[in-house]
């Protein structure tokens, strides 16, 4: 009998019901990182009065009373928890149903005469090649037609890196004891220099970084571009850091290179785009021509911009990992 009971207990449906109704033991991380919930244990081995002298009994009853008021307050909170979770589950479910109903009424999937395929996308495809010179129309659209979005985009990545720096960077001259303690034990988290990882990295890292550079350089010809290539180069650097440790990576990638590379490529991006926007807005002739499509050095500004964006993305991705791991780049 108990075997069926136990199967029923941890079957998926029972878990979903308990998730919806908020008994949080199926999700509350017992195995994970939370501290065990003290009050559930405490209540089990709670002892009542024994024969003790008056002062001790007074203290005992005070503690006893405090515990009961805690339990009452805890129950109030539990009721609130249940109510809040139930209400929240209802709102989420209603939002999903409303969205499903609206999507059912929207134009159908994949038919050519949707309102989306209008003269805007037609011009991107028809004149995309000779106006921007980019074989990959999406890259042409991102870096030439709607370049202001992508300018904002690379600044989103830059500001995220600044935020992570503010939060996680451990500077030597901070007087905050908690930070200094964190500073030492980060240092001893050097990777463990296993032979397997190092041999694999010796083969993989050059291939990954070469592939990343290929994706960046061919951004305007084949799919990919600055973001994808930068992320690939960034993960190649992370693999190198994991395999050979901080000392070796700091030989060629320190805070100085990080700030020089990311700031110079962001400045190049902003200034070149300022030039092309300014010339465009005031109908001046800009010296950047679309070049012969298909060749590497074609598509006007798109190639240098792809390299700049690739550099920013690579530095930022590596910066994220190094800041999390070591509290400094």
């Amino acid at each position: 009998m108990s075997k069926i009971r136990r199967d029923y207990e941890n079957s998926l449906w029972r878990k979903l019901v308990r998730f919806v109704y908020g008994e949080n033991d199926s999700f509350h991380e017992k195995a994970g990182y939370d501290i065990e919930h003290p009050e559930t244990e405490k209540r089990k081995e709670e002892t009542f009065f024994e024969e003790v002298d008056y002062t001790k009994k007074k203290k005992e009853s005070d503690k006893f009373f405090a515990k009961y008021s805690a339990i009452a307050e805890k129950r109030g909170e539990k009721v609130y928890n249940h109510f809040y979770k139930f209400l929240a589950a209802i709102t989420c479910f209603s939002i999903i149903m409303i969205l499903l109903v609206t999507v059912a009424k929207l134009p159908s999937f994949g038919n050519p005469d949707n309102p989306v395929n209008n003269e805007v996308s037609e011009r991107y495809i028809e004149q995309g090649l000779e106006e921007t010179g980019a074989v990959n129309i999406v890259a042409g659209m991102i870096l030439d037609y709607r370049a202001f979005d992508t300018l904002g985009e690379s600044h989103v990545l830059f500001i995220a890196c600044v935020c992570v720096m503010i939060l996680l960077r451990l500077d030597k001259e901070t007087n905050d004891p908690e930070k200094l303690k964190a500073l030492e034990n980060d240092r001893d988290f050097e990777p463990k220099n296993e032979a397997i990882l190092q041999h694999a990295a010796k083969i993989l890292v050059p291939v990954i970084i070469l592939f990343g550079i290929y994706i960046v350089l061919n951004g305007h010809i084949s799919p990919g571009g600055g973001f994808a290539g930068g992320a690939i180069i960034g993960s190649g650097l992370i693999l190198y850091l994991n395999a050979f440790g901080f000392k070796k990576t700091e030989m060629f990638f320190t805070t100085k290179t990080f700030s020089v590379v990311s700031v110079s490529s962001l400045l190049f991006y902003s200034l070149s785009k300022t030039y092309s926007f300014f010339t465009g807005a005031n109908d001046l002739h800009s010296i950047i021509g679309p070049g012969t499509p298909g060749a590497i050095l074609s598509a006007g500004l798109i190639l240098p911009l792809n390299i700049a964006v690739g550099a920013v993305v690579a530095c930022t991705m590596y910066g994220f990992y190094a800041l999390f791991r070591k509290g400094g780049i």
């Binding site: 878990k15 994970g32 994808a228 690939i232």
Partner: protein
Amino acid sequence: MEILYAILLVFLIVCATFACLHKNFLTSVIIFMSYSVVMAIVWMLLESPDLAITEAAVGAGVTSILFFVTLKKIHAMDQEKNCDEETDTSEI
């Protein structure tokens, strides 16, 4: 061709639910990584290769690495706290 769409989409939904429902963090991050990879494949099917490469490199790659490094950092802080207080914590 339809069957492939159906299999991938069902896989996506299953991955998403289990990534959120699973108790252990490491397993849910791995399930999340597979969710990103399958999403990259779905974008290949939807004829947009740019997104597939970016999602694979950025979504499956860097986001999962950040999750792993956060778990490692938290586990490290847990160990350091434990050697102060000698309470046991379960393995990841």
